[in-house]
């Protein structure tokens, strides 16, 4: 068989070989932002906006892990947001305020919910999967709305942010920002590792051709379910952070529209790249934040009443942007960058 190994095995495939500076740039920007913020004069506002961007980036990235690498279109990912947030809220209202207890419980709850609903959902395919994940999220939404003891529809205000080992340093916006950044970076590195690993390769293969994977001896379900659980836990962590950032939890965290927005963020940034989801979340939240003002400025030729109505109803512009992106900008922001760099 010696003659069979005439060509040496290349040690890595072409797709993985390229070094991508973009994620480094993104995280460097996030790390530098607080210093810039403190010179802007509106540091509270900038910090809270960017913290939200990172939290939604974390949730969107967790969705990208199963959507972009596993082709599992979960239309109920906001449920995990809710689980994380409500765990913090409910435990805090019972006097358990330390994140070192809250977060593990939230992760366990997310994992449990993902394992149970995933085991049922993954029996179905395609549209049925989309719908059943949606249904499970709706179930949680209605459950949260009916929890009269925890605010019902109105939600629950946290009296303080979570403590960390008894210390209240998260009360400082910079500390919360830093913690969120650390969580995002940790989750990113973990996801990056998973995607490249043996496990991730099976998951990616399953996405491309399930039958082929079975034909070489893999059973897709355990891989998909594990990915679903990991993804759910990451989104649950994002929920814990969101509760702390907003100092408030509410059923509105897990409406199906919120799940739709998460999908949008992933696609907007570029499917199946991890950092694309973070970019998508950033673009989405910044558009949401500034579109009213942009519209107001851009509609200078209209009369004042129409102008204010237009900027109030910015979603009228947001919707068509979304449609246009789907129709014309395949690959999202990353696709755009890639096309640009190739001339």
């Amino acid at each position: 068989m010696a003659e069979l190994t005439q060509a040496r095995a290349p040690s890595m495939s072409s797709a993985v070989a390229r070094f991508d500076p973009l994620p480094v740039f993104i995280f460097a920007m996030f790390a530098a932002a607080p210093f810039l913020a403190s010179t802007s004069g509106a540091e509270g506002y900038v910090l809270s906006l960017l913290t939200r961007v990172m939290i939604f980036g974390l949730a969107a990235m967790s969705l990208d892990l199963i959507l972009g690498y596993g082709a599992l279109v979960s239309f109920g990912h906001a449920a995990f947001f809710g689980i994380g947030a409500y765990t913090v809220g409910i435990m805090a209202s019972h006097g358990v305020e330390d994140a070192l207890i809250q977060v593990p419980v939230a992760l366990a709850a997310s994992a449990f919910f993902a394992a149970v609903t995933g085991a049922i959902s993954l029996r179905t395919k395609g549209v049925y999967f989309i719908m059943i994940t949606l249904a499970f999220a709706q179930m949680l939404y209605f459950l949260a709305s009916s929890l009269a003891a925890y605010g019902g529809d109105d939600g629950l205000t946290l009296s303080t942010r979570s403590l960390v080992a008894g210390s209240d340093f998260l009360e400082n916006d910079f500390a919360l920002y830093g913690t969120t950044l650390a969580c995002l970076l940790g989750a990113y590195m973990l996801s990056r590792s998973i995607v490249k690993s043996r496990f991730g390769r099976v998951l990616r293969g399953t996405k491309e051709n399930t039958v082929r994977m079975e034909a070489i001896g893999f059973q897709p379900l355990p891989f998909q379910l594990t990915a679903y659980v990991i993804s759910g836990m990451m989104a649950g962590l994002a929920g814990c952070l969101l509760a702390n950032q907003a100092e408030f939890v509410s059923p509105a965290f897990m409406t199906w529209q919120r799940s739709g927005e998460l999908i949008f963020m992933v696609v907007l940034g570029g499917l199946g790249s991890l950092h694309g989801a973070i970019i998508g979340a950033a673009v989405f939240l910044l558009l949401e934040e500034f579109l009213p003002e942009i519209l107001h400025a851009a509609s200078f030729f209209l009369n004042d009443e129409l102008r204010s109505r237009l900027s109030e109803n910015w979603q009228m512009v947001f919707g068509p942007i979304l449609i246009l992106i789907v129709l014309f900008a395949r690959g999202g922001v990353l696709g755009f960058i890639r096309r640009g760099s190739h001339g």
Binding site: I120, T124, K125, G126, Y128, I132, F142, A148, I263, F264
Partner: protein, 306 residues
């Protein structure tokens, strides 16, 4: 007394189920024939309600309003088809979900832009404003009876069209095997357009019918859309029969669950705990029901053969 209450709630459930069916019918056909997820189907229901509100205010008559609203809803559905949907048939489900999600954002906000955020109310037509006594001591509003009657008539018509006409035959064939239909030399694009337009009109009709008993407001189609999806998934995508059965089931389970769950639980729990848990579980019932159905039958009750 409870028997009367039960009967009234059962009628309400039936009425709700029929409305759901009107929405789900178009959705399941669009889905079955074109393999197209249309999240914007719920806003077509909302558009129907707004159109009837606007037209009946303009003409001063609900009847005229309805008569004008239906063709407008149809035209609006066709417009959306031409502008957006037809560019999405070849795309994957994810892109369809997103683009139609964009339409929801746009239309919800547009009606707010045009008619304001406050709910509109549409008066119940004069001739149907009273109640009838259907049994001893059981009064039921005439208008709700009319909705039930209209729902049943439309369901029957739809059944006739789908099972006994040429277009219906094509639609059924399309739900089973779309490439076969186009192989027969049928203009599949036109078939899509017809199915789409009528689906939109049915949803608009449902919205118009409920306008007098619900408040007409932005976002009113969002939650009912999800229910309609639950219906077609339980019924089996592409199956009118499944949609009909599932819609009635969902209508009844939801309505009866909300009114009787707390009482039912009182048999095993103390009253305050029963009403607490009852109110928590009732809105979850249909989703639990759906999960259970899909657990045992991953393609719904009446899966279209593929």
């Amino acid at each position: 007394m409870t028997a009367t209450l039960f009967f009234i709630q059962a009628l309400n459930g039936l009425q709700f189920g029929l409305i759901l069916f009107l929405i789900a019918a178009g959705l399941t056909l669009v889905f079955g024939v074109m393999d197209f997820i249309n999240l914007a189907h719920g806003v077509q229901y909302m558009v129907g309600a707004y159109l009837v509100a606007a037209f009946s205010a303009w003409t001063g008559s609900f009847g005229w309003g309805l008569l004008l609203a239906l063709p407008t809803a149809l035209a609006f559905g066709l417009l959306l088809e031409v502008l957006v949907f037809r560019h999405l048939y070849d795309r994957d489900h994810l892109e369809q979900v997103l683009a139609t999600f964009g339409i929801i954002l746009f239309l919800n906000q547009s009606v707010k832009f045009i008619w304001g955020a406050a709910p509109l109310s549409v008066p119940v037509p004069e001739v149907m404003s009273g109640s009838v006594e259907i049994m001893d001591g059981l009064l039921y509003p005439v208008y709700r009876m009319a909705i039930i009657a209209a729902g049943l008539v439309v369901a029957a018509l739809l059944y006739l069209v789908v099972s006994h006409t040429r277009v219906g035959m094509l639609v059924r064939a399309g739900a089973t095997n779309a490439s076969m239909v186009s192989a027969l030399g049928i203009n599949i694009r036109r078939l899509f357009m017809i199915v789409f337009g009528f689906g939109a009109m049915l949803a608009g009709f449902a919205g118009a019918m409920v306008a007098p008993i619900l408040s007409v407001q932005p976002g009113m189609g969002d939650n009912i859309l999800i229910l309609a999806f639950v219906v077609i998934v339980i019924g089996g995508i592409g199956s009118i029969r499944g949609a009909f059965l599932a819609a009635l089931l969902i209508g009844l389970v939801d309505t009866l669950g909300r009114s009787f769950m707390p009482n039912l639980l009182r048999l095993v729990l103390d009253p305050s705990a029963a009403s607490q848990t009852g109110r928590a579980i009732a809105p979850m019932l249909i989703y639990i029901f759906m999960a259970a159905v899909l657990f045992f039958r991953p393609s719904g009750l009446f899966p279209a053969k593929r």
